[in-house]
Symmetry: C2
Subunit: 401 residues, 2 copies
């Protein structure tokens, strides 16, 4: 078996943790498996590098920032090999140049294009543990690039795909994907399995253990992921194409409390109004999430939408300055989004209704609704977030998985 394992920054944050990871790798290696491990920069090293850079230049060139960042993972992989060497295990550390991790030139947010897996295969044939820098790549001009948030997960998935690995294990500080945030929903339980699409919806909703791009890539190349804890030996959650669901309609409940709703009242009911509104916002890089447009009456209509709460004031300013085609504007920041996600709802009617019923029973008013094939999201008053999550969690019996 060829197994790709990825450990994040906290998992290699100090000497003790490095040896903890090393022990896990050796355990796998001694089963006779080929082991490739992807590491992030140690603990807060990335933050330290950012601070160091900003001290010199508050607005450092992105290319040079990536040049600086890549020292972080290189430090991790070198130290890991030193730890493995104390155990007498043959190993080799490799950076983005050495594995030819080709990406686009988009510094700070590059995308992987291809990997030359020859070097890794050669090292594995010599029965070495191969320790690869996550998060970093090189572009076609041999400049360093970095992959952006969650980049090391993507590195691991890309390597697993390129090497046709038998498993790709993502080790984090939680031991899997839960039906809801355990800090908010006491009865939340760990899922044995979840589909790529469900995971993507959850990631988007801010409940993501994995970053979107890694899940997208895993889906595209059919890489089965396992999300596990680096601190215990629990089984974790498998992320794959299809999950046997039986009566399971919903996999999880997620909430996002960093939301604001902006409503524009009394727009002309004519073509092009929505285009003009959202075009102004897009031109200023304001991300809009849910959009609701009322049915026109008396030749006017209303449009409401949500944005991240941090963008709300800027969005309002843009609208007031550039888009004047409305009678009144009102904004609310004390709102939150609560969503249910489940591949099962595609073939089952009544899932949304069941959610609405659970909220009604709690006396929670629904302000907006938005749905995808495998998700239902409602906007509610922020103060009811926790109550809503628990009510919905209960309604779909998620605590009994």
């Amino acid at each position: 078996m060829l197994i790709v394992k990825k450990f994040g920054g906290t998992s290699v944050g100090d000497k003790e943790r490095i040896f903890n990871v090393a022990n896990r790798l050796v355990e796998e290696y001694k089963k006779g498996n080929d082991v490739v491990v992807v590491l992030s920069a140690m603990g807060k090293m990335t933050d330290v590098l950012i601070e160091q850079a900003k001290d010199i230049n508050p607005n450092p060139p992105k290319r040079e920032m990536d040049m600086l960042f890549t020292t972080g993972e290189q430090t991790s992989v070198a130290l890991m090999c030193m730890a493995l060497a104390t155990m007498g295990i043959p190993c080799v550390s490799l950076n983005a140049f050495q594995v030819q991790m080709h990406t686009t030139s988009n510094y700070g947010n590059a995308r992987i294009k291809r990997i030359d897996s020859e070097r890794i295969k050669n090292e594995l044939e010599q029965r070495k543990i191969v320790v690869v820098t996550g998060f970093q790549g090189i572009d076609k001009f041999d400049n360093y690039t970095t992959l952006g948030r969650g980049g090391s997960d993507t590195t691991a998935v890309a390597l697993a795909a390129a090497l046709h690995a038998d498993a790709c294990e993502i080790y984090t500080d939680v031991d899997g994907v839960y039906t809801a945030d355990p800090r908010k929903v006491e009865k939340a339980t760990k899922l044995k399995a979840i589909t790529y699409d469900e995971m993507l919806e959850l990631a988007t909703l801010g409940a993501g253990v994995l970053h979107n791009r890694s899940v997208e890539m895993a889906k595209k190349y059919g890489v089965q992921l396992v999300v596990r804890s680096s601190l215990n030996n629990e089984e974790g959650t498998i992320v794959k194409e299809e999950v046997k669901m039986e009566k399971m309609l919903v996999s999880g409940v997620a909430a996002d409390e960093d939301v604001a709703r902006i409503a524009l009242i009394g727009l002309k009911d004519e073509p092009g109004v929505a285009f003009r509104l959202f075009n102004h916002l897009a031109n200023h890089n304001i991300n809009v999430d849910m959009i609701l447009q009322s049915v026109g009456r008396d030749k006017t209509k209303d449009i409401s939408f949500t944005t991240n709460v941090d963008s709300a004031d800027e969005a309002i300013e843009i609208i007031e300055r550039h888009f004047k085609e409305y009678e009144s504007l009102n904004a609310e920041k004390e709102v939150s989004k609560v969503s249910i996600v489940g591949a099962g709802m595609q073939s089952n009617a009544g899932v949304a209704a069941k959610m609405f019923e659970a909220l009604y029973d709690e006396g929670i008013n629904i302000r907006m609704i938005s749905t995808s094939e495998i998700r239902v999201t409602v906007l509610i008053d922020k103060k009811y977030t926790k109550a809503a999550m628990n009510a919905v969690h209960e309604a779909f019996s998620l605590g009994e998985i």
Copy 2:
């Protein structure tokens, strides 16, 4: 003009020093010159990395040590470019992969084989300041290597040779090469120029501002070096093939106080004795410096030699265990070597005699003598080191250059 400049670790040790170097680079750039700068790791960063490694593995694999070390210079070059960017100067940082600094595979002490200067030339054509990592290389298998002590000087010389640079300036914490160590000889003066061979002798004698390998490479490729201070604008010392000397016989006086003398009395006066003695020492990696063999009489002879004081006890132990062909052994650790170096002495008789006379006038006894074409070295009692240096310095009028 294409100018290669090298700055050591102390010159880029903190924000203020980084900007100090950046200012000097911009000054050169604004004259219309092409500027390539080679940087070492910041201040004590290399020590920090060693400590970090030893904490994990007291005996870390050399390959992984080099993988770790190379993060040091990469940090320096990225931060330097960030500093240059604040001044609006186009620049790019390049590491050993990006300049294709090919070396042997001898981790920790690799030698440069060739450089692909295309990338640097392209960047210079775009009028960028090119900031290159010193000290590091890659071997033919794309592993990182490092060049050993003084490695960044060698990087600078190699780049100057590959790029056919018009000048190669080595910036250090002293402002040039002196006729003697100013801490020991008050009248020591800075040399305007010195030959490669003189510089090599001085480097070997521990008075080296430049590391041997960089001077050897400069000599081989005819790269004219300038040693200058990073803290002021003094002219520095030029190191080149030939120096006009007029009456200058001697360029400098150097001393080495870390010496021990071991004398073996009553060896058989027959062939092979010296071979057996020094073969045993060589097999145990003991470096021997001066060797003196007495003329045989009564069918016996004596051999004395010097080693570094740290190796003396081991040398004695080896001799006592493996080489038993002597009557008695005595060792002295309170000795030092004082040398004069000068390309001028090749064509001038009486230089050595003048040195001996100066020492005699001071009442200093000479224990051993060794000479090369451009050097005379004497072994004396350690307590007279400073007096001997001053006497010789005076005798050759070195304070009046």
